[in-house]
């Protein structure tokens, strides 16, 4: 059943049916595409890598564009934390081993006499 909403929609679609790009639109697009081709071939591998990276970045959803830098920062922080934690554990283990060795020596040979 048609009502005012359908009529308004159809009227607006009709009024915008002949919307067209400007006469030089195809030429503009082709020159942009040709610039892209020249930039790609002049830059060689680096330009191509940048183009691929830009393409991948461009294809990401907006939420992911925010999440990727945050995730990268978290990953770097995790690695730094892991290195420090590993060093702390290592130091603690060495200290414990030294203490144990001294205890064994003291038990076997008695206290050191100067």
């Amino acid at each position: 059943m048609r009502d005012e909403t359908d009529e308004r929609f159809e009227r607006l679609l009709g009024a915008t049916h002949d919307v067209a790009a400007s006469a030089d639109f195809t030429a503009r697009v082709m020159s942009a595409v040709e610039r892209e081709t020249v930039a790609g071939s002049a830059g060689g591998g680096t330009a191509r890598t940048e183009t691929i990276a830009r393409g991948i970045w461009g294809d990401l959803p907006r939420a992911a564009k925010i999440a990727v830098p945050v995730a990268a920062a978290c990953a770097v922080a995790s690695v730094v934390w892991a290195v420090f934690a590993f060093r702390a554990v290592d130091d603690a283990t060495l200290a414990t081993q030294d203490g144990a060795e001294q205890s064994v020596v003291a038990t076997l040979y008695g206290p050191e006499v100067e």
């Binding site: 919307v19 639109f25 195809t26």
Partner: protein
Amino acid sequence: MSSLEDAALRVQRGDVSAFRIVVEATAARLVRLSARIMGSVAEAEDVVQESFVKAYRALREGRFDARARVETWLHRIVVNASLDARRKRARTRTDLAEVDVAIDGAAEETVALRELASWLDELPDDQRAALLLKADGMPSAEIGEVLGCSEGAVEQRLVRARAALRKRRS
């Protein structure tokens, strides 16, 4: 193989001039669709031009795998780019009146575009896109490919969009 698919294949093999066939065959429809989303021909031209460059890059880098028709794929790129540009414009609070300062002898068309865009303004992006693609004569199954959802989901979005527009009127 259609002439568009054939042209896309030639572009993939390095024939830049074949891309002109793709542009000439699809530009009119894509600019009209983008203009209806954006409410402005000038902005739509920028969005569609950028989309064509993106599509060209994807073809050259082998990122178009021909699972979809070339035209459907281009529609997907243009719809996403138009919706993104619209959101960006909303964030920067650019008024439509500042965008299309002069459209040669097409004042009525400009007014209708703005009325259409602002009328559909409160619809969610997916409903607005589905409604305008359907209005352009695209079958629901193909709209599903453009929007990345099932045919059923498209029909649901169309029903919701119409209901929302009716509700706003009353």
